[in-house]
Assembly symmetry: D3
Homo-oligomer: 340 residues x 6
């Protein structure tokens, strides 16, 4: 049976209630998140076997954080304990023309200072069929690009299918640093995942006729981007989310899946946003679900677009939907009528 | 002076805060509800005399629930005490493409196991001009169809005007069971109320050119449905709500009132939903208000559509608006400008 | 360096949580507000020097309220202590077709019963370049029109630039009373600010081809209104907000700035409303910011429209945005994409 | 059957959550209260017939407040509508050595400016057997002493039994004013109620060997006080609560009931305080309950002490306990073991 | 390695916030509980291997409830799905002289209607060393005594050590029913656990010189009770909690462990109660922990008393303390000084 | 006029609501704190002039934190901006035998990596009469002992009176490191402040006949400790808090002030704890208040003990009481009677 392993950061997200700004906050809603952890949870909610690997400091808050993954049936048996701190970020939720704002506090964390030897990779990959990583993990600390390269190579050698979400974060490294690192990783990757900006920022491949800020996206442009990623790096499959940002409250959402040299586009969903953080991770999870269950290309992109569309209606970073709920939306029922 | 009596279930609704899913909930907002109780409260808020009849277990939670009706000036003097439990349901609020979800826990309740003799119907109907029932009440338990038939016949004999909202609930009985029961009740009913699906599910009368899931409704189709209900069962008036479900966040809302052989349609309202549960009950209440205060047909349907449109902007199941607030919307001011 | 002084009421706002109606409320969110205080806070958030003057009763609640202004770096060194009470109002937040509702309780307050001599105006105006007042302040109590006239004349004599937001409140005085008072104040005013209704209600100058309730506004009509205010009262500049109220949830927002005999219009923003109270005050603050920093007319109206557009996405009455956040929106990025 | 009428103020209480100080509060818990209203609610919870009379402004907040009394089955059919405002007070809850703090804002209220003619006293007293007033009501406004005198005389003439809780409030009037007024009212009173300070402050009758601040109370001293009230004013019965304030968290609580020339003392309860506001009102209600149900003197004082002891464990001002819950404590079970 | 299996009910607990009564509640804090589930969680927090077995209806609320056990590392692999409902109870938290109140709604649940064949007992007991049951489980439904007898016999036959907490609930069955059932179960039990009332209510063995309501407990009396349970039913070990209920806020807490014919008493702890529900379950868990880790008798009773003392300071039903935290208290540090 | 300057860390405190453990928390109450900042706020609440100096990263969360000091009138004009992060700690509130738990995350902060040159010390000390530091500040980072020595010497040279709270934190440095550093600082200190453990841990001076864990404190022992600090380091005054920890809920609290070679003891307060964090800081602030206002020795220790006693009844770390509230307690009224 298929089993997916994710490796990366796991940190606290602290958000003022509702649309309060930081300066108005006397309460923070806390949840625990991390790009690869989010993918594990989403897959687990769809019934898949997953394991999440990270490094955490040995204290009660980190243990509390980890227990949230257990709740959603993600295995955490190979988490390494040590280091000085768990990361966190503060998220102020935007609305209408006011964007959401994130303040990072994720340096010097236990994972950022981890070494390859902190983990028993042979045990970790035993029984694994898929390995997932994002561009955030190598950006966490100076030793992480090398560590990630070793891990991804190890997975590749063991015949584990590797997926990587480019996930560029400008506050963590420069585009030059990202490119230097990611160009070494991508050749080992079977499935590259990106949003409407990542390929440009990380690999320097820009979609023509597209202006993300102005909310203008070109389907043809992104098909070309995917094609180039495949041909330049020998990648098999590419998935790209296509988000048209109308405002912090309203987006349009669709996706492209490129495989076998051909692009497949999903339908487009107009979305009223509850919480958009984790949208990309839910897309990656859904592509992996499609891969692990053997879906056809068009089915794959529709499933992934629908599942990640639903994420935007769910609070916090985990995409807590199961495969039956995605199927309901895929069947054409996005009417939101009460299910009783 | 007019007085309306409602008879039915009264139960707790437990909802996670905001858009949280059940698995994320550590707090439940509680309110007390029931289709006929909701109608009583809405009418009471418009200044009408109402009484609600149900059966509740003799415990502190049921008494707390009942006190909420007192707060809104609904009389509860003939509530029967006994039985084992008060029902409840859990409601997870949907958004965008994610539908709201309801988990019922309303079996074996005091009302579901009630008998005709638990109530003093002569005292209950003293001074009553209107009696309201919904299709939920006979679905509550095995003895309830017979009990409802006796009550509705009693009301009819006493010259009390009878209204019935078909209110089909697929988790409570099958369409076959519903039809078998409701076809016996409807002939005693003066005013039949339904939503865009009920007539099809309960009486087998389907609107042509209509696809509720796809959000396509035909005005002519529903006029025909109303006509058929009148002619087939000898019903005098029919009110039908016409909800076009765009998503869990946005709906279009209008209504049809059929009387004297002619259909009257209201204007259509685009609605941004705060809480849509109880929307149908607020429509029923408004039709009764129109009847109790002697409105003309077009005035009736416009009043009922406007009042129930406002319900969607109000949290929880009661339509807490008064007749002056409905009049403001009817006067053309749906601009939502601050009233100070 | 420029410094602005505001003078007016300062009171508590009590709002049920979310979209709860008053009768459903067991908790009130409290914040402290006042038209001129809001302008001070908004300017202070943009880095300007401001001082707010009012009169408050000597008790712990008033002191707590005042400390909120300190938090945002507004000076309060000349607040007068005395009188019997601090005002308050209750605000029920509307949604969709249901309007927000305000219940005032602001009579007999310390500021309403203040006298000119309660304040040391020479000290207050020392170093001040701008003085801001709204039409609410003279409406607070019987002695206030005279007091305001003296203050505004004093400011004028000292060469302080005077701005006045007409801000008509029908629950505080009649249009006749407002006109009698405001026509005496306006001749001393350099910058008159109004919303789409104020000029009509206070000065009897109505925009042609406009129906506020129906959501129809004429640009030409408002250019004429501004022109008339300038010519009739010798006012130099006029700023008017143009709000098209679609519903309590959705508005369109833009503005007109009239100076040097010519109207300048901003772009129009479709707004999904978080909290619209204080929108006009944030516009006034932004016009003052433009004046204090020497912006060109078109730049002025665009800045003020953008800043006050953002206010609608912020909870409570203060416009807690800084000049960099306004610049981001002005640069064309209203896409609401996450800032991380 | 016995029926009690209460007349007095009805106002909002706004309390920061938990033990927060005013300056820390961003949320206020709201409840509605008033000395006589509290007595009505407590009696209603014990199954008695009650009616509360007050005057309120015609707005949504006052109507919401009033609906809380309906919830507890208190009748409000003769409330007068008019005037300008409903009163309120802010309550900061103390703990340990830090006392609770109250900031009053109850001037200029609808009830403070009421006149005798605003109410239909004949209708109000129809069927009434008991009338209850406190020393707060005449202190509300300049016309209130006279109004209260007329009402109390009216009640007396109609053979209605009159009870009066002295309830001295130093922020509302001076001891001289209180004495001047109350000495005219007390001769019409059948049952005088007081706490450990009132008789001294209002009537100038001080208990010997007692120092309230130091937590020293003399039983004999209070027996003398009660005796003097009876002999000096011709009062029949006197009830006095004996609170030994150890800290804001811990009190000792007991009571004295003086009737037929003899004092009866209750047992003393050590209390861990949840909310002590309304403790005196719950004592008054319990004395009235004893009177309305015909208890013996010792039974009376024990019942009243036990019921009001329980009040201290209940949040907000209403004593939401029924007669069976009081009986459980009277039976000797104050062990607080879980009732399941 | 030792592994414990628990079998029983799993239900929702709904509690008004703080000390609110049911009638004041608009929010319920929800947690999931069950006597045997609580024991599993407590043992898992101390690092033990546990599995909980129950039967639940196939719906989202039950799945959400179950995920809480996963969070605390309790296995749930053999839960049976089916039946109609999950039970629940409402808990109103008492304070001072006012007792906590529980309203049960746990009839007709999936577990109450379970049959022996719903579970794969061979798989369940594979690797198990301990099996825990309480007197609540046989009381759940008419078929449960027989089912429990078969399960307990099965465990016994497999050499699994059996513990049983008598846990009498008067609202679930009579003392006669309890005795008839429990006397058949106890002979198979190795460790009997009881509180200060259970042995009397269930087995008719009463401690002399003891009055639970008056808070009077006799150590000698309870030693005799334990002795009698051992001799009469052939039980090896008996643990009894000794709670002296001073009030709902304050208790004294200690325990007796009887083994090898001798009683061992723990020290007594004065407790300021945060939440006492689950106190007995935490005691049972700690006795099992002592057994699974091979503690001496005196060490056992001290550990169990200390661990369950700590439970009273923890909100909700699970005893979320680990063995190091118990050791800190055992070392004599109950001073509550901040651990930083 | 006297003015006090504090220098040190400023960080977020995140606490689960009520008595929830970390693993139960989905919300964190946030407040901002720091030993010297707490002293500044307490002094400012008593009307004193204060300034707080720290270093913070340039982001919205740090700016929000700083605005809280402005709210309480503490000046922050010389805060240095730069570095990478603001520190934080998580606080789990204990009760009864369960201690509060703190998880630190305060390494690599902007203040921990500050240099002497980041601050304009001449400007900072202009007008200052008092400088306050705690033992936490030198423990923040490797360069901090040297920085603190330079600052304290600078203050001393400028004739500014220096106070230092030893404040030992075992998670920040060893007793050896603390001693090495503090022995160099203390000779420059005029007033040394310590709790019942600090002198032992930091300076190796232990009170005889004392066992802090067992709650046994010897007055004579602490008088000797103070005497030794004075004689060994040439310190003028010493203040020591004497906390007897009965449990996490109940403490006894008193203090010793040693000056002119003589010890002065305050009365002892039994305290029911709301929040004890910041108790020591409030004591330091009160000693400084006494010094700044010229109190006598006995008056000083009584004032400081009373003020810091009140702190324990106030939520979060700031001692939000003014000098009149302390005076009320000093006058003998600790009865906690409602102030209205």
């Amino acid at each position: 049976m298929a089993k997916m392993v994710g490796f990366g950061d796991y940190l606290s997200r602290l958000s003022p209630l509702g649309y309060k700004r930081f300066i108005q906050a006397s309460l923070y809603e806390v949840n625990y998140t991390g790009a690869e952890a989010n993918v594990c949870v989403s897959l687990a909610c769809m019934g898949m076997d997953t394991e999440f690997v990270t490094r955490l400091p040995d204290n009660d808050v980190a243990r509390a954080a980890l227990s949230e993954l257990l709740k959603y049936r993600v295995r955490v048996d190979h988490v390494a304990w040590g280091g000085e701190r768990m990361g966190l970020f503060y998220l102020e939720k935007g609305a209408s023309q006011r964007p959401s704002k994130i303040v990072y506090d994720r340096k010097y964390t236990s994972i950022a200072t981890a070494s390859y030897e902190d983990f028993d990779w042979d045990a970790i990959f035993e029984g694994a069929t898929h390995f997932h990583l994002t561009g955030i993990t190598p950006a966490l600390g100076p030793g992480m690009p090398e560590l990630c390269k070793r891990v991804i190579r190890k997975a590749s050698e063991l015949g584990v299918s590797v997926s990587c979400d480019l996930n560029y974060r400008k506050n963590m490294w420069t585009t030059a640093e990202a490119k230097a690192c990611m160009e070494q990783l991508v050749p080992y990757v079977d499935l590259v995942i990106a949003n409407e900006e990542d390929a440009d920022k990380v690999l320097g491949i820009r979609a023509k006729d597209t202006n993300v800020i102005a909310g203008k996206l070109s389907r043809e442009g992104y098909a070309e981007v995917a094609e180039k990623i495949c041909s330049r790096y020998g990648v098999k499959d590419v998935g790209i989310t296509l988000r048209r940002s109308i405002s912090a409250s309203d987006n349009e959402w669709g996706a492209l899946f490129h495989t076998g040299g051909k692009p497949y586009f999903s339908r487009t969903y107009p979305i009223h946003i509850v919480d958009r953080v984790g949208g990309g991770d839910s897309f990656a999870a859904s592509l992996l679900y499609a891969s692990m269950t053997g879906m056809e290309p068009q089915e794959t992109v529709e499933y992934a677009a629908a599942a990640s569309c639903l994420k935007h209606s769910i609070e916090q970073d985990f995409n807590l939907v199961n495969e039956r709920e995605v199927a309901l939306l895929l069947s054409g029922d996005g009417s939101g009528r009460v299910q009783r």
